[in-house]
């Protein structure tokens, strides 16, 4: 009986969190089009459903009915595998994101997450590092110059920014003394100035910018880079495989926003409210994440794309030393040198 309840709770959590993530990713595509339209004095999609809410559904139906093309000379297996590999890491990453301090489910210990590990942070960083494989395989397997160029750029970019990303998080980890995300979030409970963004502003800025690069978003979307590379790594993809790349991208953005919130913006804590009920905590978490998603979209439609050498310069010569120095100072303070 206990076994059945445990399985039921796991299935319920999987359904809620994955379903919620896919819905949020779909609505993010809509929000992207809406916000871009508003910034450009347009209306955006407003025909399918009220305010165009059903537009992602219509897009999905369209993608399913499109013809699937595999280019000549493509590596058929890798070509078919790549979109799945690209969507997988974000899906795996969300498994350890805690959405509330305590799970509301019956006989469920620990935070409201699909799985709570001792090394949450390492796990999620490892999987976000894997997300580049989908892009590289997709670019290489499609036997196209543009795809390959996009994939190579993306891999170079991800390697350079992952270092800054991880080092800026490490400062927070050193401060909290834990690799568990719910403990990092719990350390920021209570007043709003307990948030890590105030004790680690430099790390926050570095992390945020590195996040843009990590998820291949503007102004660092060199993997796609429409004016130079047609469509980058997904030039040759069509139909649902193309959509899967985008699902992966938006899920990755969602996971990255969750991470930013957990590390720097107080996580699931409602400001000035200790021990809030679980639904308020989930609400607070989602509000912060949605605000960050809006920031992602807003930045995309504001800033032009960097040049590739500027990107590399920024990553290796500015972010890496800054992140290292930040970690060093944080470590010195945390270990009581000063």
């Amino acid at each position: 009986m206990d076994m059945l309840i445990t399985i039921g709770v796991i299935v319920a959590k999987l359904t809620c969190i994955y379903g919620g993530m896919v819905v949020i990713a779909a609505l993010t595509t809509l929000a992207e089009r809406k916000v871009s339209a508003w910034i450009q004095f347009r209306y955006g999609p407003n025909r399918v459903g009220p305010w165009g809410v059903l537009q992602p559904l219509a897009d999905g139906v369209k993608f399913i009915f499109k013809e699937e093309l595999v280019p000549d000379g493509a590596n058929k297996w890798l070509f078919r595998l790549a979109p799945a590999i690209s969507a997988m890491p974000a899906m795996m990453g969300v498994a350890v994101i805690p959405f509330a301090a305590a799970s509301p489910f019956y006989q469920d210990e620990g935070p409201l997450a699909i799985a709570s590990l001792q090394i949450d942070v390492l796990y999620i960083l490892a999987f976000s590092g894997l997300s580049i494989y989908g892009i590289i395989l997709g670019g290489w397997a499609s036997n196209s110059k543009f795809s390959l160029l996009g994939a190579i750029r993306a891999s170079a970019q991800m390697i350079s920014y992952e270092l800054a990303l991880i080092l800026s998080i490490m400062a927070v980890v050193v401060m909290t003394g834990s690799f568990q995300m719910n403990e990092i979030a719990n350390a920021q409970g209570g007043a709003i100035w307990n948030w890590n963004i105030f004790s680690q502003p430099l790390a926050f800025i570095l992390f945020l910018i590195a996040t843009f690069a990590e998820t291949n978003r503007h102004p660092f979307d060199f993997a796609e880079c429409e004016p130079e590379l047609v469509g980058g790594f997904h030039t040759e993809f069509s139909s649902m495989r193309f959509a899967l790349f985008f699902l992966g991208e938006y899920c990755a953005i969602f996971v990255m926003c969750c991470m930013t919130v957990l590390f720097f913006l107080g996580g699931y804590h409602v400001p000035f409210m200790e021990d809030a009920p679980w639904f308020l905590q989930v609400g607070a978490m989602l509000t912060k994440v949605i605000a960050l998603l809006f920031l992602f979209i807003w930045v995309r439609w504001t800033i032009p794309r960097f040049r590739f050498d500027q990107l590399m310069d920024l990553g290796w010569k500015r972010f890496l030393p800054l992140a290292l120095a930040n970690l060093l100072v944080t470590g010195a303070i945390a270990s009581g040198v000063f």
């Binding site: 508003w38 910034i39 450009q40 004095f41 347009r42 930045v299 504001t302 800033i303």
Partner: protein
């Protein structure tokens, strides 16, 4: 040789972030500015008497009789060969102009008058060619159907009362008077 002097950037400009924030505040303000898109089917295009829409045949307001005498001048003037007229004899001998019933002998009227709207280029030559003020460019612009045959408009779809076409008729007369062209019956 042109020597380009680069602008010396200040420290905050070199930091890049303040400038990004400036740009973002601009795009944020843009979100609340009025939209320039026209929501087309709900907000139709603005039309006036200068609008050269689809050609329509004028009918007299009083008795609904058609003004066309099937002379075939518009058929000849049409550069797209969109007009096909079949005439027939008629014993109708009175038309009503401006409220007065004028005795006037009319030999012919169109038996069928077809305009292929898929061929029509809305040039307005038929309007200029017509000696009887029977065909005018209306302000009707929308044209859609599910098959091509339904887009060949016959008399039933082309007839419009003069009162409906009045702004266009007045405009044409204004233009003609400016050119000192002889005006026919109004």
């Amino acid at each position: 040789m042109v020597i380009v002097k680069r602008k010396q950037l200040s420290f905050s400009e070199k930091l890049y972030l303040p400038e990004i924030l400036k740009g973002m505040s601009m795009t944020f303000r843009a979100m609340f500015k009025p939209r320039t898109t026209r929501q087309y089917p709900e907000e139709p295009l603005p039309v006036n008497e200068v609008t050269r829409g689809q050609p329509r045949l004028a009918t007299n307001d009083e008795d609904g009789s058609i003004r066309c005498v099937s002379c075939g001048l518009c058929e000849a003037a049409c550069p797209a060969y969109a007009i096909t007229i079949d005439g027939q004899d008629t014993d109708r001998n009175a038309i009503t102009i401006g409220g007065d019933v004028t005795e006037k002998f009319i030999e012919r009227e169109p038996e069928s008058f077809d305009i292929d709207m898929l061929r029509c280029i809305l040039c307005g030559f038929c309007e200029e060619a017509c000696p009887k003020d029977a065909i005018f460019m209306s302000d009707e612009l929308e044209l859609a159907d599910f098959n091509r045959n339904d887009l060949i408009y016959g008399l039933d779809k082309l007839k419009r009362p003069v009162s409906q076409l009045r702004p266009r008729i007045d405009y044409i007369y204004k233009v003609n008077e400016r050119w000192q062209a002889p005006s026919s019956t109004r």
